[in-house]
Symmetry: C2
């Protein structure tokens, strides 16, 4: 009975494995490689404008004729916060000094608003699948995207959020466990109840009628088989795909992933302003005491971004944002298509052994 | 291939389901009911002296001839901390006042030391299984218990802890996920990495040769089947057994469990001094800002214990310690033996459907 048919038929894919969108780390090449292997490749588009979206979607379409997914943060940038920025700039000054940076006065906008310019581009591009983080766009946008033929997916961290997303029109729902790397998909900031996958996935499966996609801490056939046992129809896997040659991460981050079991991961707001899980490096450790001072998402990222760039330039991972989930210990370096096929074979073997 | 044979043969049980020891909540009656149904009943003995242990083990043996488990915290009480106690007494004074209690001067010792008097009682009782939390007793005690015929189990929250426990002589290892209710089984306080079960269980399974028992957030056949897929040979389930009539919890706690999905759970040190997960009631919420002021385990419990007694007497659950895991939403009120049988049937059905 593996795979369950509902999700693979909805998405038009062979294997119910979604390579997670990871803004800044996914490339058209990894999306095409995963989709060509029968999974669903996802491009993290949180940093895209309408124009860059058209270019990158075009690259994907030239490299595969299979379904692919474009992912967005449903968010607006917060109002300016000059006092908060000044305070955080003072807090970060030792790091700026250490890296030879002059103090940031005006933080760069890392993620543009999710607005009509993005929706218009999507209506033109008609991607087979569009997925969201932090909720759903307004009802008009959802209706228009669906009319254009896109399947809509979004992330829940509780059964209540899952019900809300289903009501708002989601065709499938990602149950994102506490184990997941990157940003927590809570609808509202600072509302995380921290449900781990084993507890969350069956609660979400009971709460909604649409197919459920398990995410967080899944890195091999054991995790995939477990997700199916828990009631999911598919999985979304991020961290494991970061170690493929097609991912777009820098070599410091790539190397750090191999030390993931020793480094461990932690949740922090101090990088972007929203809770996200990354490899526990010097920045995360030292800033732990100042979590509550973090600026609203993604304003905080505007101030830490220059540190990340400068840290990378210096050849150090001490101040990089290196998102990773709790199963990072299982990461293995192989091409994305081969990883997808390996995951499918492993899952079959685990299920056959139960 | 369900169940895997290693654990059930080691423990001499029919079904690889362990009812978790929960000190203060488990009774000889629930232990006997679970063991008689073919699982492994466990008595939480953290509060026992050698004498009470002999009495309670006797009750179990009169009620079942099947294997049973006695569980202990491997800990010594910390040195007196009069300054800390005075500070925490001031912090708790509003609650003491509200409940009409005079301020505590000398906290009661809630959990006696794990010492020779306990080991001597165990060597006399020769329980089929003895399990530990917070590590392992010293090598001499472990050797003596094994020589007396007891199987030894302990809890790990990381692969590293699991390897350490195996080296120290554990015959099976519990992989306790972040989802679990009650006390986190980290060897050292305040070292929790918060690994959820989906990420933790396969890491522990890869790290040790002895059978692995999955714990945390498991409440029905889906969770049990998932644990097997992840590499466990059995499961330990606590919260689900609290709603059985054989559990020893007070009616306020029993009622609150039915509202578990709405209340949610949280980890806190403010009740006992060690991180533990319980239903998010008024005390946990209000004390959240003072986590770092908590006294060493179990000194803190000595100061909060009177609040719990008085709160219960007043008919309020606002200041009770109501340990519960993240799958509390699935709790159902049925006799313990029937719950055990239901879990076995559900697991078979889930595995047959994969």
């Amino acid at each position: 009975m593996w795979p369950r048919k509902d999700l693979i038929e909805l998405l038009g894919i062979a294997h119910p494995i979604i390579q997670a969108p990871m803004a800044g780390s996914t490339t058209p090449a990894i999306v095409a490689a995963v989709s060509n292997a029968g999974g669903l490749g996802s491009l993290g588009c949180a940093r895209d404008t309408g124009q860059s979206l058209r270019e990158r979607a075009g690259e994907i379409r030239r490299a595969t004729n299979k379904p692919y997914n474009l992912n967005f943060f449903v968010h607006k940038n917060p109002p300016p916060d000059p006092d908060g920025v000044a305070r955080m700039a003072r807090r970060l000054k030792p790091y700026y000094d250490e890296l030879g940076l002059s103090e940031a006065s005006e933080p760069k906008q890392i993620y543009p608003d999710f607005d009509d310019s993005i929706v218009d581009a999507l209506l033109e591009l008609r991607p087979p699948i569009v997925s969201f983080h932090y909720g759903m766009p307004d009802a008009d946008a959802v209706a228009a995207l669906k009319k254009a033929g896109s399947v809509i997916i979004s992330s829940a961290t509780t059964a209540e959020e899952a019900r809300w997303l289903e009501d708002a029109g989601a065709d499938a729902i990602i149950a994102q466990g506490y184990e997941a790397g990157g940003h927590r998909g809570t609808r509202e900031p600072n509302t995380d109840t921290g449900l781990g996958g084993i507890a969350l996935i069956p609660q979400v499966a009971d709460a909604v009628k649409v197919p459920v996609i398990a995410a967080g801490g899944i890195a091999d056939g054991r995790g995939i088989a477990a997700a199916f046992a828990l009631g999911a129809s598919g999985v979304q896997i991020g961290t494991a795909f970061l170690s493929t040659p097609e991912s777009g991460i820098n070599p410091l981050y790539r190397n750090a992933l191999l030390r993931g079991a020793d480094m461990g991961t932690a949740l922090t707001r101090t990088i972007s302003g929203r809770m996200a899980r990354g490899l526990r490096n010097r920045f995360i450790e030292e800033m732990r005491a100042y979590e509550d001072e973090s600026l609203a998402f993604p304003l905080q990222y505007g101030l830490t971004g220059p540190l990340q760039v400068a840290s990378a330039k210096k050849g150090s991972d001490e101040m990089l944002a290196m998102w990773a989930g709790q199963a990072v210990a299982f990461n293995r370096a192989m091409p994305a298509g081969e990883l997808l096929e390996t995951l499918v074979e492993e899952t079959r073997a685990v299920l056959a052994g139960l």
